[in-house]
């Protein structure tokens, strides 16, 4: 029994959302304790998609692990490919040809746009704005088609491999990509007006799940989730890995840290990604796409290495321990979605049940990466 809004005792209602529910963005279960319509306590239960990828990787060679990393963040496979390859390259002292770095940046920034479109579209659909969902997925589809023509896969690319990338750009790809970018900027402006200028969307998103900068840091949040709260931290700029120092781009920040700022941050990041890709396409020069002379069977020296990249969801790290054999002794993925999802039970209390869904969507969890 808890005290209701009017002072009368009311019974707490426990609602079990999921594990498989259209509004939970994947197989996630939320046990919501309600007082009327207001969430008193929300417990997030994960693990429904745990496939033990870190354990499986211990029985695979370094190159065989790449397809496993596709299955982590399955709407942003390029990131896990890249982060894993960077950690292995660091351990094995592999230096990449410049063209490979540029191709990695190009596909990963395209991936960022695709992933943000997915986040925007599906969290808009949670609020009932289905038109936005269709617009956003249309933009994403163009990118998926670009990837398909590049490596044959639409979701699980395995494009980034230790030592470089799998394929060079096919004929006409650069022109198609440039045409997409041009159209995409218009599409983004349209979506901005359609959704963020809409009074209903504003009413639903503004104030929902406001996260303070201090809490974002304490909970280990990263990516747009943290930047919407004003935490100015982007590994592309602050860690300056790969060829990112050569590009001119901004890191969009939010002020209020609510669901509206998180969504809008993603929209602005898509603009910045367009700028980065355009600069990369201008700068990239012909050359090898793989480090020459790498053995088929990689056996890095014994030791450990950590490397991280800024994925669409935040700081994606890979910790790899080698004992000198051709198989990783231990492989750990530090996934940003896992850290960001912890915020749900912190943010939900005090909001209505329908806002809980909005908050969950605004954290943009991908359960392949949360559960691994």
């Amino acid at each position: 029994m808890v005290d209701g809004a009017d002072g009368r005792p009311v019974e707490e209602l426990v609602v079990n959302l999921g594990p498989s529910h259209p509004s939970t963005h994947g197989v996630c279960r939320v046990i919501a304790h309600l007082d009327g319509e207001v969430v008193v306590k929300a417990e997030t239960v994960i693990g429904y998609l745990h496939r033990g990828i870190e354990k499986i990787a211990e029985n695979r060679t370094y190159r065989q692990v790449v397809p496993l990393t596709d299955r982590l963040d399955y709407v942003g496979s390029m990131y896990a490919n890249w982060a894993y390859c960077r950690a292995v390259e660091r351990l094995a002292d592999i230096r990449l040809p410049e063209r490979a770095e540029y191709l990695r940046v190009i596909v990963c920034e395209l991936q960022r746009i695709a992933s943000h479109m997915m986040a925007l579209g599906s969290s808009a659909a949670d609020t009932g704005a289905f038109t936005m969902f269709v617009y956003a997925f249309e933009e994403r589809e163009r990118i998926v088609e670009l990837f398909e023509s590049l490596c044959g896969a639409r979701l699980t690319y395995s494009y980034v491999r230790p030592g470089g990338v799998a394929f060079d750009l096919p004929d006409g790809w650069v022109e198609t990509c440039r045409a997409f970018l041009k159209a995409h900027v218009k599409g983004l402006a349209e979506m901005d007006r359609l959704f963020f200028g809409n009074v209903i969307a504003r009413g639903r998103l503004q104030g929902a799940g406001a996260l303070s900068a201090a809490d974002a840091v304490a909970f280990g949040a990263s990516g747009p989730t943290a930047r919407a709260s004003g935490v100015d931290w982007d590994l592309r700029r602050d860690d300056a890995y790969s060829v990112y120092p050569r590009f001119d781009f901004e890191v969009p920040l939010g002020a209020n840290g609510d669901a509206f700022d998180r969504a809008r941050c993603r929209l602005f990041e898509a603009y910045e990604s367009v700028r980065i890709i355009e600069q990369a396409l201008d700068q990239v020069e012909p050359g090898p796409i793989v480090t020459p002379g790498l053995p088929r069977l990689l056996a890095p020296r014994a030791g450990d290495a950590y490397d991280h990249i800024e994925s669409a969801r935040g700081s994606l790290g890979v910790y790899v321990v080698s004992d000198g054999s051709p198989r990783p002794y231990r492989l750990k993925f530090r996934s940003p979605a896992f850290c960001n999802l912890q915020l749900l039970s912190h943010l939900a209390p005090g909001h209505t049940l329908s806002d809980l869904i909005v908050i969950l969507g605004s954290l943009d969890p991908v359960f392949g990466e949360v559960d691994r």
Binding site: G47, G220, Y319, R330, R334, R372
Partner: protein, 145 residues
């Protein structure tokens, strides 16, 4: 970079791969983490473990974005007594990381508010990321592969 920012601490570090590495005893894990947090390493990247046979190594990664630095806190515990203090009092975000490490390695984080399995079902037996873990459902690898 790290040494320039913290000359007095730097004698303790061995700097590998650009990140500082600080090996501590289990009893000193919490106080070292607290000191580092005060020095600007205020972001907890991850908590995990590695199975080294007789010992487990707890690996904690902390970031100091203002100084563009990161440090690995490493702490070895005996396999027979895998207990370390929890970091949840310093970082609430350590919660799920420690639950996962408990779930998959069986390492007990003392002082954790809710140390339950997180990835596997509550009635699961054993800790799969331990090297000696055996699952009756998994077929042995045939020797011709």
């Amino acid at each position: 970079m790290l040494c320039a920012a913290y000359p007095d601490l730097c004698t303790l570090f061995s700097v590998e791969f650009g990140d500082g590495v600080l090996a501590v005893e289990p009893g000193a894990l919490l106080s070292s983490a607290e000191d580092l947090k005060r020095l600007g390493f205020d972001r907890l990247g991850m908590v995990t473990a590695v199975d080294y046979g007789e010992q487990f190594e707890i690996v904690v990664r902390l970031h100091a974005p203002e100084h563009h630095a990161a440090v690995f806190l490493k702490c070895r515990v005996p396999r027979s007594e895998p207990r370390v203090p929890s970091l949840t009092a310093l970082w609430p975000g350590a919660d799920w990381h420690e639950r996962e490490t408990y779930d998959l390695f069986g390492i007990v984080f003392e002082g954790h508010p809710d140390l339950r399995r997180i990835m596997l079902p509550d009635d699961w037996r054993g800790h799969p990321l331990r090297k000696d873990y055996e699952d009756p459902h998994v077929l042995p690898r045939p020797d011709y592969i």
